[in-house]
Amino acid sequence: MARHFLWLLLIPFVGLLWVPFYNFHDPVLFGFPFFYWYQLAWVPMTAFLTWLAYRTYANED
């Protein structure tokens, strides 16, 4: 079993809890300052990482 995929789930914690990393105004995307679109972008990225981890488990349904 490729359970080392679970380590991927730590990445969002690093990306979101280290605030100085993203507390900026620029670059702006679609009118959103970096602070906002960076955090919003972590929503689909975290879902994707979780999906990679999900695939390593057998489906019980």
């Binding site: 679970l6 789930l9 730590l10 969002p12 914690f13 979101l16 809890l17 280290w18 605030v19 100085p20 507390n23 900026f24 105004h25 702006v28 679609f30 009118g31 959103f32 300052p33 602070f35 906002y36 955090q39 919003l40 972590w42 929503v43 689909p44 975290t46 879902a47 990482l49 979780t50 999906w51 981890a53 999900y54 488990y57 057998a58 489906n59 019980e60 349904d61």
Partner: protein, 495 residues
């Protein structure tokens, strides 16, 4: 804000409210079991909810009406800091993915209904079971009261005065929860979540167009904060640790609550839970966009009596009144789903971990359901009385402390899933230190969620719940090292 009755808005509102009321009662026949007179059926919907039902139920239950009102209100008043709800509701899902399938399996294998059942099964300690159960009930009560505040904000925006509409809505809610159990909020959650999605998507796509685009919205907010002299659209360096610890602490606490755990226990399989950890972030995206309504309030130059009015006022100012009525119905129904699940979760705790533990250990499954149904009524009446007779601030303060308290049940509930090292006395001591120490810190800070920590020359403002959790775990480990271990725990002995 307008205060006279808005007829098209009221008509749309009443239509949807009537619809979900009918659904609430019909729900007892949905996926009909042989009998509803069993706690597994009444309190957990038969543990058979698949991916989509769970998605709607947990989404409807976790992203509450109060969230819809309070998150934009906080962003409106303080700016970037209020956005911590976003990292919080992102990070919660990797945690759910790692922990909750194991918890579900233990509950499923042993027929457990509550967190305190799991703790009693694992450690065989009535004291630790009671600690977890009492914390759950006490933390849930103010949370239900907050749902009433969310509902009251929507009802007031329609132009209704007084507490009568609120009482009427709650009586209806209490009756269908009594008769249908968890099936009622599960069925209503479909309507609630779809309505909320429609309202939010309409808001975030239409409103910025009317206000000159997102860049103009952020600019307007920036200038409003500068003019006001407080708040900003970026964080101050002194807020970094507060922002991160609030996000992490809230994420750890979120699925310790009875209402979120009820959604987990009601799932059909561990796969259902893992799939939902992948799919539920869709709600987080919605919440992130919804939070920006706070800034749109500045761009629209709203004059508000209370920050909590920012969302209703935006809908009233910028949308036709029938759509405002739709949005208010979404918020009010959004209060019913979590309020129902919370009262069921609290009732399950009372039944399993007080009634069955102390009053009538021989109670059968039908008897449990009967006790839980009554308990759910008592819980809801209690929350209603709190809102009517006590100041709103009381519920808000208790809710804040509730987050701190529920977080202190994490070691007892979760650690046992991964290690057999901890003992009940150690976890109980940790719980006492975390709960009372944390409450004392928050109390001396004037009931603020943040505490200034100084370690040498290093100073940081930290979420007090997380400080208490660290103290809790450290104390549990120390006691564990000092006190000799018993030979076998209850579960180990029985297997």
């Amino acid at each position: 804000m307008k205060t006279e009755l808005d007829i098209p808005a009221v008509a749309v509102f009443l239509f949807f409210f009537a619809l979900v009321t009918v659904m609430g009662f019909v729900a007892s026949k949905w996926r009909r079991p042989k009998t509803l007179a069993s706690l597994d059926e009444w309190g957990l919907g038969g543990r058979q909810f698949g991916t989509w039902i769970t998605w709607f139920l947990v989404g409807g239950d976790f992203y509450t009406a109060y969230t819809v009102i309070a998150v934009p209100a906080l962003v409106y008043s303080v700016g970037a800091y209020g956005f911590f709800a976003l990292p919080y509701t992102i990070l919660v899902y990797p945690i759910v993915f790692m922990v909750m399938p194991r918890l579900w399996q233990v509950a499923k294998d042993n027929g457990y209904v509550t967190a305190a059942d799991v703790v009693h099964g694992r450690y065989g300690s009535r004291m630790l079971e009671a600690a977890v159960a009492i914390t759950g009930v006490v933390a849930t009560m103010p949370y239900i009261a907050l749902q009433l505040i969310g509902m009251a904000t929507a009802v007031k925006a329609l132009g209704f005065e007084g507490e009568l509409p609120l009482i009427a809505a709650f009586v209806v809610l209490a009756l269908y929860t009594y008769s249908s159990g968890l099936r009622a909020p599960a069925l209503i959650a479909f309507v609630k979540d779809i309505m909320i999605y429609i309202a939010v998507i309409a808001a975030v796509s239409v409103i910025p167009g009317k206000l000159g685009g997102y860049a103009a919205v952020f600019d307007a907010a920036d200038q409003a904060f500068k003019a006001k002299g407080s708040g900003s659209i970026l964080l101050q360096p002194s807020q970094y640790v507060a922002y991160a610890t609030l996000a992490l602490g809230s994420a750890l606490a979120a699925f310790m609550y009875p209402h979120t755990l009820t959604g987990i226990f009601a799932s059909k399989s561990a796969t259902t839970i893992r799939k939902n950890a992948v799919l539920l972030p869709a709600y987080t995206l919605m919440l992130g966009l919804l939070a920006l309504l706070g800034y749109m309030g500045h761009a629209a130059k709203l004059k508000l009596a209370s920050n909590n009015d920012v969302v209703p006022a935006l809908f009233q100012t910028l949308f036709p009144s029938w759509f405002a009525g739709f949005a208010f119905a979404a918020i009010a129904i959004g209060a019913l789903v979590p309020a129902a699940v919370m009262s069921i979760g609290a009732a399950n705790l009372f039944t399993r971990n007080f009634w069955k533990a102390y009053v009538n250990p021989q109670v059968d499954s039908a008897g449990e359901a009967a006790v839980a149904k009554i308990a759910s009524l008592v819980v809801k009446v209690g929350a209603l009385l709190v809102i009517i007779y006590l100041p709103t601030q009381f519920a808000l303060d208790l809710q804040l402390l509730g987050g701190l308290w529920i977080l202190q049940t994490l070691p007892a509930l979760i650690f046992g899933l991964f290690t057999r090292w901890f003992t009940a006395p150690a976890l109980l001591t940790g719980w006492v230190v975390g709960l009372f120490g944390g409450t004392y810190l928050a109390w001396t800070d004037g009931l603020k969620p943040l505490h200034m920590l100084s370690i040498g020359s290093f100073q940081a403002t930290v979420y007090v719940g997380l400080i208490a959790l660290v103290a809790n775990i450290v104390v549990a480990m120390l006691v564990n090292l000092v006190v000799p271990k018993p030979v076998a725990t209850a579960e180990a002995a029985s297997t």
